[in-house]
Amino acid sequence: MSVTAARLENSNPLIFHRAAERLITTEEQDEHLPDPIDDREIFDLIRSINDPEHPLSLEELNVVEQVRVNVNDQESTVSVEFTPTIPHCSMATLIGLSIKVKLLRSLPDRFKIDVHITPGTHASEDAVNKQLADKERVAAALENSQLLEVVNQCLSNRTL
């Protein structure tokens, strides 16, 4: 964990309980019925992303919530709002980037993916949203191997 060498910005954050695993229904086991992509499915993609500084998931820190995920399978759009734990959190861009990258890697490319900060929860909300919405800046960020390393760490299953 290269980022935690310094003292944590927020050493005692609020912790939330994890939702239970999604139960497998009989419809899902039926060969022939199609299952549309729904909010819960998108939430399951992003809830286990690791926080860059705590050994906790974004769900446990309540950075992402299922109610703040909206998907429309027909129109191929996904919108995710995330809430930094403190208004001055310097990790906000990084967290947003991790969510965006996770969705880019996990969703079919017909989807238009919009990731932004829950309105009113961060000091530099507009700047961060703008960065995350800019395709070229996201692509450029992923060219930077240090940034990519941190993002990959957030997306990997922790093995410590």
Binding site: P55, K102, R105, S106, L107, P108, L148, N152, S156, L160
Partner: protein, 1032 residues
Amino acid sequence: MAAESARLPGLVEEFVAGEVDSKAADVTEGVKAGNFTILELVEALGLSLTSSQPQTRGRGVQLLSQVLQECYSGLSEKEVEVLIAFYENRLKDHYAITPHVLRGLKALVKSTALPPGSAVSILKSLFQDIHVQSLMVAQRSCVYNMLISLMESREGELKGLGPDFVYGFVQAVDGERDPRNLLLAFQIARNIIHRGYDLSQFTEELFEVMSCYFPIDFTPPPNNPHGIAEEDLILALRAVLTGTPRFAEFLLPLIIEKLDSDVQNAKVDSLQTLAACGPVYGHRELADFLPGLWSSIRREVFQTASERVESAGLAALTSLSACLSRSVLTSDSEDPLQVFLELVLKDCKHHLCEPDLKLVWPSAKLLQAACGASYRSSLLITATVLPALLDEYSSRAQCAQRRTLLEVLHGFVQPTPSSLSAEGEESVLLPFQKSLCSAVFSALSESSAGLQITAIKVLITLGEQPGLLSESEVETAVDHLTKLILEEDDAQVSLAVAECAGSLSRLHPSSFTSRLIPRLKDEIFSEPMVLRDDSAPSKTRQRCVSALASVSTLPGLVQETAPVLLQVLSSAQRGSNSFSLEEVTSVCHSLQRIANRAQGAEEIGKFFHDVIIPQLLGLALQAALQSQRSSDLSSALTQETVLSALVPVISSVCAALQTDLAAQTAAQFVSLFLDGETSFLPENTYPSQIQLLKSEFESWSQSQLVCLLMACVCSFPHNHINSELYQVEIPEIDRLLGQLEDLSCTSTHPFSYTSAAKCFAGLINKRAAGQALDAALEKTLKRIRETLDCESSAQRVQAFTLLVWVAKALLLRYHPLSTALSDKIFSLLRDPELGSRAADSLSLLMSDSSDVLNRSCHADVRIMYRQRFFTENSDKLVQGFNSAEQEKKSVYLKALSHIVNNLPRQVQLTELPPLLPLLLEALLCPDDAVQLSVLSCLQPVLQDPPPALSSQLEALFSRLLSLTSSSAMNVRIAALRCIHALSRLPEHTVLPFRARVLRVLASPLDDKKRLVRKEAVSARGEWFLLGSPGGR
């Protein structure tokens, strides 16, 4: 003799001047054989030992040392004395000679004739004349080994040297870098500390020279030629550093310093070393450092992301608290334990009152670690923490917060082995018993499942500690459990309730017989009042039925519960339609769970034998007779699912019966099935002409009862009486086998003929080898062959079923006939009618069957029969595959995949490589079942792939990737899992496929099935991480 000793000067000359190394061995042989003495050798060496050429002197000493190495044991004390004087003197000689001198000395110190005083003199010269660290690795090792031998044999003399010995050792070892030598040096240091050598003023020097290696950071060279792991060095050094309280003043500051390190291993090592100090130190050694140590431990546990660091930190805290708990209290000084724990409480307690925040967990763990150290520390901690937690609990209203608090509380009510109250001490929880119970009961009546589950866990823990639940509290608890069983349909909660009911019923059976069981019985037999939604009442009933099994932990309880279950079956049999098939099946499952307990409790077995089994059999028989009389009145007990569920009830009871009861049961069953003897059944109203093993189709409801016969006669245990293997005798076995054979060959009812075949096979498997068995087998096999060979016969399927089961019975016991039978099965792979069945039957042969021919019904199962079958038959299969026509090939692949799939993992790894091409071929086979079977045997292999795989990667990837668009969802899922597993292969082998995999996996991300998308997402995620920074 004389001739022999005359050879000596020649040999010496050849070794010294001629540099022929092999002559040393000849000399050694000579000395060992008694042809010449050491004295003669020294005389012969004479000139070379005193030569002015260091080279020559070196060879001379080398020869002498080499001989001594082998022959030191035969030396007299006088000889040793002279040799030692000589060698000590040579230590001052030319550096080139030193290695040989050290070898010689090393041999001499091992001699039992070592004269008194020589140990001291050797060491003095050694320390004085030799600078150990400028020697080579092997010579340094020589010196350490000498010290170790002398410490073993001359401890008294070495101690006489006083601190000089320690000083000499410190000088010698200072700067050592070789791991092999370090292990020796650590051993010497440990001996110095543990065997009471005088350290005096050199304590700090010894510590310094050892502690400079702490924490150890060692990576063995490739292939680790010396077999030394980092862990060996760590443990050896830790034993030195923590060996004596006299190091405390140096070690503790060092630990605090190293805990600041950024290297995780250093932190873990430091914490573990601290934990190792606990048992050795007293509170005086720790006193000055406690605040520093505590703040380091706290920081690590609060901040770490690593479970290793956390658990090492907690263990260190436990160890420190345990150490302080041992201190003897005096009236005038304060209690060091109390002082320390106050420090811990001050930093942690307030976090417990913030159940939403992250630090509540590490704080709770720290306090629990301290609490579990001793009875005294648990007394001190619980006295402060429990009231605070209980207060907080009652002041919070949110379920999530209450759950966290209760979860934390649970950690404190769980005693550890060291915090258990001793004789005469009362439980530390006693003062809080009332408020703990009321907190638990209030949580049980909340609606949150998570909170209920946590409360149930606490209740179990409280129940397990004697004296913590009063009679009335047990009753309240039982009422709560009853209510949950009746009303709560969350699966997780039901599981927890079942566990709790099981645990409490063992200790407080009376509350269960008087309250819970009657209440559940009422519920089961109450007519469903209104059909709110059609599944609800049925689910409640099933929960009640399963709860009855959970509380049947003692014979007394079984006598209450089992009759209730039986009553359900009997009313189902009478045809009152209020019980669904599903409910009846779940009653059978509950009876089975109770029957399983007969294994450890004779009384339960006897109760089943006396009461339950005759009644069960009676009910099944009545149902069968009834349905034959009027086909529209068919009761649940004639259904195949219900009968199959009754099989394990009877078989697990029979498997646990004592010899005499077993024989009685066997006789009853056999006479019922052969002769229609019903006198042992209750309500004896059966007709006298019952013939259960007859195969007319109309009587299938009777003939299928053969499955119950199988459950009984195939399950009896072998008993060892006077070291003789005693088997329960099955009466009239030949007549029985004959009728079973008839039934299985002629019945047209699949369940009947399969059960009869299984019963036949189960008896054959256990029957003692000999003529009787061979004759029975010959007769049956002849019949099977004739039927199979007659292609027009209507009974080929029946004959084939019997063949497969008999083959399995014989394969398991390594019977010589089993090869012929499996060959017959293999030849049937070409059969147009039976080919596909034959392929599937291999899965049956290779896997454990659940109701017969397995270890729990005491079948004769030899170890490794699967490997044996595989080795004997895999070639036949491959040949068959190669020679088969194109459209028949898939049958062979299916057969192969069944066999490979059931092999133990270790065998798969070794056997798979030659079969890989064939299995890859099988992936192209259009049959879904074959694809699935191959994929499921590939997936575990890919976790740890055999080297042979690397040459097949290209083919493997293209087959797997194309299967991700298969039409069968299970195939797509299995293929994606294999692709996921492939991402863990060594990076250089799979990196070339990365771009292709990512491209192809983009389409299953849009699969119509969610389960497929889920696998695609996780596989693609892993492949993105492969070869990417921060990934893998």
